[in-house]
């Protein structure tokens, strides 16, 4: 068969799966799950086949109308009206192929895991349908070759995450969380669409292959860049639109793992790398600072959360902050590299947390857990691996990626770089601190509640994926991911480090940027130390009395929700109330009412001319004649 068709197949199989499940197998949970899992795993396999056959940089695909198309794209026209040509095509290059691998691979593992996690939920078919829909949309984002197509799938991942967050829609909190996620994402997309419009206006094309440097955008380059960035801010939950992600934890844990850790939230970073060329220095600066600030803010908040999933969610925020920061610092390879490793270990962490939650019958408060090391050994170990990878200690995958980010920041030798480097190191320490706080409280010490004491290990269908992901989280930094990204981001010979020996690869970071790696390790040690000192034996949180008001502020996420509630939502509600009032009272009440009443009254008044008295009639008749005479003859 023609290999060009494989990517299309990979893209559309999940959609087909979703369609089949919704239409036919809603009532057969098992079949549905197998269809969905089969679709995504087949996608994974096909992607590997394709890569092994065509390499990372496929040759020219095919277009419509016999037009030559750029390498690795195959296009068909979707819509065309004079200046507006929107294609539907797929763009295959190392970036997208690697993302496809991540989405299908990690996603596949999570699919399998969900088979166990959702086993006793009546809506499992619906769950898998929506999961497949998400996979389709995510692959679409990855493979899109133009802005509109990306925007389409951008919206689709939004809606599928909306559906999945609201999966347990009977829970009011779930419904609200879904709504919030959707609307906040919409805010981001608002900017994104405007950015697209500006790009189109200035470049006359929407295809990524037609993109040009910021100088082509004239005076509006910065605005355009930032507008596009808005999309990333919304999707990747960067400050100030970060508020939806923690609430999104209302969804089932696999969803949190897949969408809100591994793939969707990373789409923003991916998009930034995709359109990197149009961003000009000022825009990049903003990007970098936003990223850095988000990383810091989220890490600080995470320190005082007590919901196991929320802690990990905030850590996701802060890791995303790292990536965005790195993009802003012109380091796309580190960003994507960290995205990849983060996908592994964050998925791992979430799934482990999920297994804990299942083990404790949906108990999520860490202070009701404890001493699970013995009861859930596999989960314990996998979680430990995830935690170490997250807190970036050699030789775990996280170490390499985060180190390359810090190194890249340091390598700029300017104020911006150094400042953000410092932030990064501090955040690294915090990261270690909060993750091990979680770790100690949950797994060590003694049981802090009844449920904890009756916890049990999860079935193989769940632990299996855990182990696989754990392996990747461990070695993820050493399997040449970085090299693949370098192929497109810095295609000079120096970039191709796959040729280097394994040992140099293993210790590469220390050689390349000793300062970064050194400080990183130091940060880890400090964080771990503090965490151990405070939480190894604690059965209640000692920090609040130490920090006082700051702690409560951290606990309450620095009141962002409240602020938005008070400003954005209130404002809209107020305006809405005003408009409604005008509509009800002025337009409908006054205008219509007066017209109607006026006519009615005149009618009733005029009728009194008809007194029924002949004399009045004669009199009116004569008056009429008199007036007519007067008017005509004056």
């Amino acid at each position: 068969m023609k290999l060009e068709l494989l990517p299309w197949l990979v893209l559309f199989m999940p959609l087909a799966a979703a369609g089949i499940i919704t239409l036919f197998t809603l009532h057969f949970k098992t079949i549905s799950s197998f269809i969905s899992i089969g679709a995504i795993l087949a996608g994974f396999v096909l992607t590997i086949v394709f890569i092994s056959a065509n390499g990372w940089q496929p040759a020219a695909g095919q277009g419509y109308g016999g037009q030559p198309v750029p390498a690795g794209e195959s296009i068909c026209q979707w819509l065309s009206a004079d200046g507006l040509n929107i294609d539907f095509g797929i763009k295959l290059d190392p970036l997208s192929l690697m993302m496809m691998l991540i989405v299908t691979g990690v996603g596949g593992a999570i699919h399998v895991y969900s088979r166990g996690y959702m086993a006793d939920d009546t809506g499992m078919s619906r769950f898998f349908a929506e999961l497949s829909l998400f996979t389709f949309s995510m692959l679409g984002i990855v493979m899109a070759n133009n802005f509109i197509e990306m925007f389409i799938f951008w919206e689709l991942v939004g809606v599928s995450s909306y559906l999945l967050i609201g999966f347990w829609f009977e829970k009011p909190s779930a419904g609200d969380a879904a709504k919030k996620a959707f609307i906040v994402n919409r805010l981001g997309d608002f900017g994104f669409l405007l950015g697209i419009l500006m790009i189109w206006q200035w470049l006359g094309t929407l295809n990524f292959s037609g993109l040009q440097g910021p100088e082509a955008l004239g005076p509006y380059a910065t605005i355009a860049g930032l507008l596009i960035f808005c999309g990333a801010v919304g999707k990747s939950a960067q400050f100030p639109l970060h508020v939806w992600l923690p609430d999104a934890m209302e969804g089932p844990t696999p969803v949190s793992a897949l969408i809100h850790a591994a793939t969707m939230v990373a789409a923003g970073v991916y998009m930034l790398c995709r359109i990197f060329i149009v961003l000009n220095p000022p825009a990049l600066e903003v990007v970098a600072y936003i990223g850095g600030f988000t990383a810091l803010l989220a890490a600080v908040i995470a320190v005082q959360q007590n919901d196991i999933k929320r802690i990990i969610a905030y850590s996701t925020l802060s890791q995303l902050g790292y990536m965005v920061m790195s993009v802003g610092l012109n380091g796309r390879t580190p960003a994507m590299f960290h995205l990849t490793t983060h996908a592994f270990f964050k998925a791992l962490l979430f799934l482990s947390a999920g297994s804990v939650i299942i083990g404790l019958h949906h108990e999520q408060d860490i202070w009701k857990m404890g001493g699970l090391k013995r009861k859930m050994p596999i989960t314990f170990w996998t979680f430990l691996v995830g935690g170490l990878a997250l807190s970036a200690i050699w030789p775990f995958s996280g170490f390499y990626s985060k180190d390359s980010i810090l190194g890249n920041a340091l390598a700029r030798h300017d104020f911006e770089g150094s400042l953000l480097f410092a932030v990064g190191v501090f955040v690294a320490a915090l990261t270690t601190f909060y993750i091990f706080r979680l770790f100690f409280v949950v797994f060590c010490g003694k049981e802090k509640s009844e449920t904890a004491s009756h916890a049990h290990e999860s079935p193989i269908v769940m632990t299996g994926p855990l182990v696989i992901l754990a392996i990747f989280a461990f070695v993820g930094g050493l399997i040449g991911v970085e090299g693949v990204y370098n192929r497109i981001f810095m295609p000079h010979p120096g970039g191709l480090e796959t040729s280097a020996s394994f040992a140099s690869e293993l210790f590469g970071p220390f050689a390349r940027s000793p300062l970064a790696s050194g400080l990183g390790t130091l940060a880890f040690i400090i964080g771990l130390g503090c965490a151990y000192a405070l939480y190894a034996k604690a059965d209640k949180d000692p920090l609040p009395e130490k920090l006082g008001g700051l702690a409560t502020a951290m606990k309450n996420k620095f009141y962002f929700d409240e602020i938005y509630e008070a400003t954005f939502v209130r404002a809209h509600d107020f305006i809405a109330a005003v408009c409604d009032g005008i509509d009800r009272w002025v337009v409908e009440g006054f205008c219509i009412g007066s017209i109607r009443g006026g006519a009615d009254l005149t009618g009733r008044a005029l009728r009194f001319l008809q007194t029924g008295n002949l004399q009045t009639y004669a009199f009116l008749f004569v008056i009429g004649v008199a007036v007519a005479l007067y008017v005509i003859l004056k």
């Binding site: 277009g63 109308g65 037009q67 030559p68 979707w78 819509l79 065309s80 009206a81 004079d82 200046g83 507006l84 040509n85 509109i148 925007f151 389409i152 799938f153 919206e155 689709l156 809606v159 909306y162 609201g166 829609f169 009977e170 009011p172 419904g175 609200d176 879904a178 709504k179 959707f182 609307i183 919409r186 997309d189 608002f190 669409l193 405007l194 419009l197 189109w200 206006q201 200035w202 470049l203 006359g204 094309t205 295809n207 292959s209 037609g210 040009q212 082509a216 955008l217 004239g218 809209h572 305006i575 809405a576 005003v578 408009c579 409604d580 509509d583 409908e588 219509i592 017209i595 109607r596």
Partner: protein
């Protein structure tokens, strides 16, 4: 006999037949109505498939002189502008006929009126003669009032009837004045639209004449389409209308005014159009933003849907106002898409009302559990309503945005996009949250979901939305050639228009050429030149 004649005549003939069917033969009445609408739908689909895009002139034409002394003739035909509308109208009529099972009293009269509505409006869309264009629409409009009055629901039924009658009559009559004035002032002494256009193109109307006629048409048609601030009839009317009526009116009849603007006003009165479209572009923001906000406040599902459908009209107006090919194409696409969508939403709310007996959102909740199909469909409808890709609405709206961006100062488009993405998202998700999500009251615990037969209309409309959402070329390829005929008279004007902000486009085009081949380069080069 043109296929178009069949398409709109069958429902009318069926209505005539029903007059003679005794009222207690309910089955026969329904079967006749369904058969007629089904026939016209099938014919419409056939017509749509046989339509050849870009062929010059009109297709499936038929012309019979009617009143010679006035130059009125029965003249039907389709081009890219109305072919989609006719298809949409036929499909929606069939769906509405299917949904009419909710009517329990005086079915005979109801079906007769329903058939008159659908037949009349299809004829109006098909006709290329000013007189019949208006005549058939008015013919279809009257049953609306009666249906709301007789079969309407809610305590404000009578007031709604009064208001909708008042507004729509004013609108229709203003439009009538405008059409007559157009006929007189053009001096062509014919009501035949193609002849009129040709004549006016040859010897244009004076600016005064244009400025007299155009506002009449704009506001006459505008009132019919609930242009802000003449909108207040719509939500109330739809709120109290029986759902089949709301489906056909909101879905199909409402598009008449927009179609009229595109078909009649734009090609004949370019100067006036230029002057008025800037005003229109601000008025339609009233629809998009203001009505969006009003919709956020609604506590009744039907009122919310009604308001949202009013808000959607804003996008069509925006597209028309942009006066360029992209915008008008988008406008037509939105018209078609919104036809399906409005029909779908009103059908769904009708079902919910019929099952729960209320549409007050505070009393509803958690309906996704008992009504799985209806709930899912409603979620889809809500998503389509806030412009989600995959549904036809997205295609139209995004195209409109591109057109508007090209035509107007950025602020208009910015506000419109805000209305579409954010405000739309807010009220739609709110509706879903309150009606479908959350804990379900016990009394709704065992509502019965739609049976297979009753799922059909909803499925039909959803499929239509998906088809045009996934393959917009089906529509745009047919629209573009004929729309470009209309905008061709505006091209010199658009050069003068506020639209020369991109020096880089030519450069872009050349870069593009290397990647997308010379054909594309040519296109973009042209746009670039136009844009300067």
């Amino acid at each position: 006999m043109s296929i178009l004649t069949h398409i709109f005549l069958w429902p009318l003939i069926a209505a005539l037949m029903l007059v003679f069917v005794p009222r207690n033969y309910r089955v026969i009445i329904r079967v006749v109505a369904l058969a007629a609408t089904l026939a016209s739908m099938v014919l419409a689909i056939i017509m749509f498939c046989q339509f050849v895009p870009g062929k010059s002139g009109y297709q499936f034409e038929q012309e019979i002189p009617w009143v010679d002394s006035l130059g009125i003739s029965y003249h039907v035909g389709v081009d890219g502008l109305n072919v989609g509308l006719i298809l949409m109208g036929a499909v929606v009529s069939f769906a509405a006929a299917l949904c009419s099972w909710e009517i329990q009293t005086r079915e005979k009269e109801f079906y007769i009126l329903l058939l008159i509505m659908s037949g009349g409006i299809l004829g109006a869309f098909a006709s290329l003669d000013l007189f019949f264009f208006y005549f058939l629409h008015e013919f279809a409009l009257v049953p609306t009032f009666i249906m709301i009055g007789v079969w309407g629901r809610g305590d404000r039924k009578n007031y709604a009837t009064f208001q909708i009658t008042l507004y729509l009559s004013i609108g229709a009559l203003l439009a009538l004045l405008g059409l007559i004035a157009l006929y007189l002032k053009s001096g062509a002494n014919t009501f035949d639209i193609p002849k009129l256009i040709a004549y006016v193109a040859a010897n244009p109307m004076s600016l005064n004449a244009q400025n007299f006629v155009f506002p009449l048409l704009l506001f006459g048609f505008g009132i019919l389409v609930s242009l802000w601030p003449f909108h207040s009839w719509a939500p109330l009317g739809y709120g109290s209308a029986p759902s089949p009526t709301a489906m056909i009116h909101a879905g199909v009849l409402k598009k008449f005014g927009l179609y009229g603007l595109i078909r009649i006003a734009l090609p004949m009165m370019p100067q006036a159009a230029h002057h008025w479209m800037t005003i229109l572009s601000w008025l339609c923001l009233g629809n998009i933003l203001y009505i969006g906000w009003v919709a956020m406040r609604q506590r009744d599902l039907n009122l919310l849907i009604g308001n949202s459908s009013v808000a959607h009209m804003g996008f069509v107006f925006l597209g028309i106002a942009s006066l360029n090919l992209i915008g008008i194409t988008g406008a037509v696409v939105v018209m078609v898409a919104h036809g399906f969508l409005a029909a779908l939403t009103f059908a769904l709310s009708g079902y919910i009302y019929q099952k729960t007996g209320t549409l007050h959102m505070a009393e509803l909740g958690g309906l996704c559990r008992p009504l799985r199909f209806i709930g899912t469909a409603l979620v889809m409808a809500a998503m389509a309503g806030c412009g989600l890709p995959g549904f036809a609405n997205f295609v139209g709206e995004v195209t409109v945005f591109f057109g508007a961006w090209k035509a107007f100062p950025a602020v208009i488009t910015v506000l419109a996009v805000w209305g579409a993405l954010v405000i739309g998202g807010i009220y739609m998700t709110r509706a879903v949250r309150t009606v479908l999500h959350g804990p379900a009251p016990d009394k709704f615990a065992n509502l019965e979901d739609a049976s297979l037969w009753r799922k059909f209309p909803y499925a039909l409309l959803l499929v239509a939305l998906f088809v045009f959402g996934f393959f917009p070329k089906l529509l745009t390829n047919q629209i573009v050639p004929d729309a470009s005929k209309i905008v061709s008279i505006y091209q010199p004007a658009t050069v003068a228009g506020a639209n020369d902000r991109n020096p880089a486009t030519v450069h872009a085009a050349t870069i593009d050429a290397s990647t997308r081949g010379f054909q594309a380069a040519l296109d973009n080069g042209q746009t670039a030149i136009e844009n300067q």
